[in-house]
């Protein structure tokens, strides 16, 4: 009896082992199948017969709203927003998962790994990515995003009016463009007019712009503000994008396993520590997108300025400001930078290549549509000529919130001067973890070397394939 029981146990254990062994095989073969699937998908018979369902993966409703606003083929959208029907009967299914804790990427990765074996109507057709991790999906070896040319879009002619840096961002190491975006995210400096008047005696954007035009002058201005009891920015995280955008080498070079922390990042660390100790920054605000940070945008706050692209002004600042319109104004930042941006990719293995091409062109490359998005959603859109027109057209693009300023006038020169920092697939983790690790250092909890080693620990936890960290200087 006992023996029998034990043998049953052993059998179960064996079965478990083989079962799980089997489980791993389709997964890994599915991966390679996915890459080879590219060719059969676009050149094979798939293009003549389009699928009935277009699955779009995203982390919010931003893309869905813009597509419904400008794509002429849209017939209707279900009341809960999950299904959009096109005129020819094709259905767009919106699959939305939160960005938080990497859930979006987890679900997307799972779907991409199963892409080859999924039924046609379950295949991912379009997915979105953010600048911080766009490289993970445009990577040539990963093969998740179809090169635009294979889809029938010629980046040189069809996307000629797009800003160059957005095209570079969406390209792999060989310069093959694998995604496209409708928005650009050049950033500005947004300041409180009342504080500017109190400290500088003027709230004129041109004159305030002079006061913040580069970091050296900025520091003197910070001292002035401090003397009157104001903070220049709320948190050390506010200035991060300006520095991380101007690094000279990628965090990790393609094919290498060494993280290089750029001199610019070290500059940011030095400046943040100094500014926090001098009281130019609000010590009680730690990081961004938390309640302290939100409150720093309220009328009781002593914070002079924020560094924001268009979305930051419209969604963060506007929602958090509890005073009247016209209290804030924009001017040039101390350094040109770009923050954010959502890229649209055609997914390898899609059964709807024609629809996908059509959608990408309509939402990211049609000037009229883009200007419409700019008007309705205040996005700074990806059309050079269109944005220049907007910069001239003070009437149509005046912002009530900013006291009638035409923000496009300020955004356009910034956008034209952006040279995107060299990207790597590890940017998201590096950007997030370096801020976390040095936060304790800024607050005086740990010393500089400890912060360094905490970053090293955290980054290798996140990316096991990386082996060492090299610090500049």
């Amino acid at each position: 009896m006992k023996k029998k029981y034990i043998s049953v146990l052993l059998m179960a254990a064996l079965a478990a082992g083989t079962l799980s062994g089997c489980g791993s095989t389709p997964g890994s073969s599915g991966n390679s199948g996915g890459t080879s699937g590219t060719n059969s998908g676009s050149s094979g018979g798939g293009s003549t017969e389009e699928g009935k369902v277009i699955n779009i993966y995203s982390w919010n409703t931003e893309f869905s709203e813009r597509l419904q606003a400008v794509y002429p083929e849209v017939k209707e959208t279900s009341s809960d927003g999950t299904v959009t029907t096109l005129n020819d009967g094709t259905e767009i299914h919106w699959i939305i998962n939160p960005n938080q804790d990497g859930v979006y990427q987890q679900k997307l990765d799972e779907a991409l790994l199963n892409q080859a074996s999924a039924a046609d109507d379950d295949k991912v057709d379009i997915f979105l990515s953010e600048t911080d991790y766009v490289n993970k999906y445009t990577d040539a070896d990963a093969g998740a995003a179809i090169p635009l040319e294979e889809l029938g879009i010629n980046p040189d002619t069809d996307l000629a009016d797009q800003y160059e840096f957005t095209k570079v961002t969406a390209s792999d190491v060989n310069g093959v463009q694998r995604g496209s975006t409708w928005q650009c995210c050049p950033g500005l400096l947004v300041y409180r007019r009342d504080i500017a008047k109190d400290v500088f005696g003027t709230d004129d954007p041109e004159k305030v712009g002079e006061k913040v035009k580069d970091w050296d002058i900025m520091e003197k201005t910070a001292e002035e503000l401090k003397a009157k009891g104001y903070y220049t920015f709320s948190s050390y995280a506010d200035t991060f994008r300006l520095f991380s955008n101007s690094i000279s080498e990628p965090w990790v070079k393609s094919g290498e396993t060494t993280i290089k922390v750029d001199q610019k990042i070290m500059d940011w660390i030095d400046m943040s520590k100094k500014w926090l100790d001098l009281g130019y920054l609000d010590k009680t605000v730690k990081g961004q997108f938390n309640s302290d940070w939100n409150q720093a945008m309220g009328s009781k706050s002593k914070v002079f300025a924020f560094l924001f692209p268009a979305w930051g002004i419209d969604f963060n600042l506007k929602d958090n400001w509890d005073g009247k319109d016209g209290a804030w104004a924009v001017t040039n930042p101390p350094q040109e930078y770009n923050w954010g941006g959502s890229y649209v990719h055609a997914c390898t293995g899609t059964d709807n290549p024609e629809h996908v091409k059509d959608i990408i062109l309509a939402v990211t490359a049609n000037k009229d549509n883009l200007l419409k998005i700019s008007k309705e959603y205040l996005d700074f859109t990806n059309t050079k000529s269109g944005m220049q027109e907007a910069a001239e057209d003070d009437k149509s693009y005046a912002s009530d919130f900013l006291g009638g300023q035409n923000t496009f006038k300020y955004f356009t020169p910034v956008a034209e001067n952006i040279t995107i920092a060299p990207l790597s697939s590890y940017d998201q983790g590096c950007v997030e973890l370096i801020q976390n690790a040095f936060s304790d250092y800024f607050q005086g909890q740990i010393d500089f070397d400890k912060a360094k080693s905490n970053f090293e620990t955290a980054i290798i936890e996140r990316y096991p394939e990386l082996t060492e960290v090299q610090w500049a200087q």
């Binding site: 990577d139 620990t457 990316y463 096991p464």
Partner: protein, 317 residues
Amino acid sequence: MKTKNKSIDYSKWGYIFILPFFISFFIFSFIPLADTIRYSFFEYYRSGIKEIGPNFVGMANYKNLLASDMLKYAGNTLILWVIGFIPQIVIALMLAAWFVDARLKIRGQQFFKVVIYLPNLIMASAFAMLFFTLFSTNGPVNGMLMSIGITKEPIDFTGTVFGTRSLVGLMNFLMWFGNTTIMLMAAIMGISADIFEASEIDGCNSIQRFFKITLPLIRPILAYTLITSIIGGLQMFDVPQILTNGQGSPDRTSTTLIMFLNNHLKSRNYGMAGALSVYLFIVSGILCFFVYRMTNNEDPDGSKAAAKKAKKAQRRG
């Protein structure tokens, strides 16, 4: 003859009754566990959307973990658990004893019982989020302290090791003391009223009664509380994760073992996560073995022996 047959029949019933449990366990826990253990010997992770491995690496994952800060996180977990558990068990025992003590005439018993259990109903994640907002440097708690005049500068609760750990402890305490109280109460009420009556006749005061009768008699349930709390403590994740936004700040002093595991799961590092899971499994096994031994050192039926002793004592007296 007849009785013999019957007893054989009964043992069959034992197997039948425990069968569903074991089938379910083998399918939903054992197979995944075997999977986890198997991969702990492999280098196996995701790089971007490419899968690396699985390549057999023997004990490398285990060695790497020992060389990492794992022990520090184990220490963090222990500290965070202790500062929540000690007040929890002390207060729960006290409350349970009060509630069943008819002479205290606690008014609104029903109300209090319902209220103290309430925090356990909130999702740990929602609770942690609420605390995060309340105790932020510009949050309502600081606002109140400053308006009463207790402090001039806002206190940076989550900026210090002491503050963060205390908040985690406080949250765990608030979430679980009601739960424990109800459980202990159920146990104390299960004790035969005769024993209490007898002890009263013998002239036991309430403190003696508590330590000499109540405590020994509810030992199985106490062991249960301790064990489940240790498991809960080992699994501590939601509260520190959300309070510190996953960073375990400051300086990773509130990073628990499961947060560490989560970091590996996040990078889809099945190998390291597997090895860490095996460590966790071993550690929790050892801990529970000790607790189990400690609370059952006399006989497996500790409660019955204690009850007999009490009865004997009362008969003698």
